[in-house]
Symmetry: C2
């Protein structure tokens, strides 16, 4: 085992430490954040810090970069009060990673990296056409993290667009079906295969694997057909 | 494509909605949070919301459950001001999932599910012996999320213990080496294989894949041998 204490971590070369600490949390989500400024100039940025906050109300959060660097995404969200979260699939990984380059403020990362801008009705942020799951969110709260000048941005889901083959009859999403990507560290992309589901855990039993077809406990069954088209 | 708007989401059956919304963020980290109460009664809970906040100072965050349910982990952290984050490897998945069962307050999930408690010096939280990566953190801040009664807990890394085969010469972690698990939705566990790394992105080039041996830009090279033993 390697052991690092606080002093060891401080003494490491910057990039070594950045790679190490960025890797410690484990697998991370790979999402592209779509925003625009007052002139509807689109912006796109990859983030690996999107987290689930709650299902009802449907809330999601993400961590911003520190205030010491230019932050077009954050500024746009503060101005427009809306943003999109777009899941990165395997076919988008190279382009998604490229959005992390420091493009000039007036440059659209969509056109620079080759992803398609899509506007949904009067929603004040663009989404990524190629993405298998796109979510439109209203900004609800920004919590400053004064320890390092970052912020925790909280949005409430206003709409979701989901590719048909990913949504299962019980509401779960089969992300391996759309070859969704996961991130480790600063720069590594994985495409996991189908996982193993487990029953809801209770003290009386050991954890039990769910059959591959998932749960059948939705009564009445949800009629997904009525969600077929854009509302 | 399926489209859901805010009204559709509200109208869905509870468990269908929970599965759907929990799946939207993508792949999530799988970690066990180790804590104890004033009597050193250990507690262990699986969480999928651990996120990286910053490398210097080394900060990590996680989302708690809402205040409407009993929250032994949160109460212990508020009392002891320390906690551990322990990465879940494939061999631990079944036991890790089982920690989500509602055990009585005075029950140790370690012994109930069959994972080994380990105490590091005078650190006020136990870690999981079997875990390939364990991290000890000091509580730094708790940000209340009033929208749904959850909290965002921020800790600073005090020590890290890493299995030797996961740490690469450039500081990155090869999580597939330790068969680390990722979570999707409420109950699905994946074990991704080795990923593809990309060069640091610059506007002048398209994204380029890194050779499999990773980066060689650490000058001078970090002498990992000196971190071999527990400090």
């Amino acid at each position: 085992m390697y052991w690092f204490n606080k002093k060891h971590l401080e003494d490491l070369p910057d990039r070594f430490r950045a790679r190490l600490i960025n890797g410690l949390s484990g697998y991370k989500s790979a999402n592209l954040i779509g925003t625009c400024d007052a002139k509807h100039q689109p912006n796109l940025a990859i983030v690996s810090s999107v987290v689930h906050l709650g299902a009802n109300p449907a809330l999601m959060g993400m961590v911003t970069r520190p205030t010491t660097v230019r932050r077009d995404t954050v500024n746009n969200i503060k101005e427009q009060h809306q943003f999109t979260i777009n899941m990165v699939a395997e076919s988008m990984v190279e382009k998604a990673h490229q959005t992390s380059a420091k493009y000039e403020e007036q440059v659209s990362e969509f056109s620079e990296v080759g992803l398609s801008v899509e506007w949904i009705d009067d929603f004040q942020a663009p989404c990524v056409s190629e993405s298998p799951i796109s979510i439109g969110l209203d900004l609800k709260e920004i919590l400053p993290i004064e320890l390092n000048g970052t912020e925790f941005i909280i949005g409430q889901i206003k709409w979701v667009r989901i590719r048909e083959d990913v949504l299962q009859p019980d509401g779960s999403l089969e992300l391996s079906q759309i070859r969704a990507a996961a991130v480790t560290g600063l720069d590594c992309y994985h495409v996991p295969s189908k996982g193993q589901r487990y029953h809801y855990a209770v003290p009386e039993h050991r954890a039990r694997e769910l059959p591959t077809q998932g749960n059948n406990d939705i009564h009445p069954p949800v009629n997904l057909k009525k969600f077929w088209a854009k509302p």
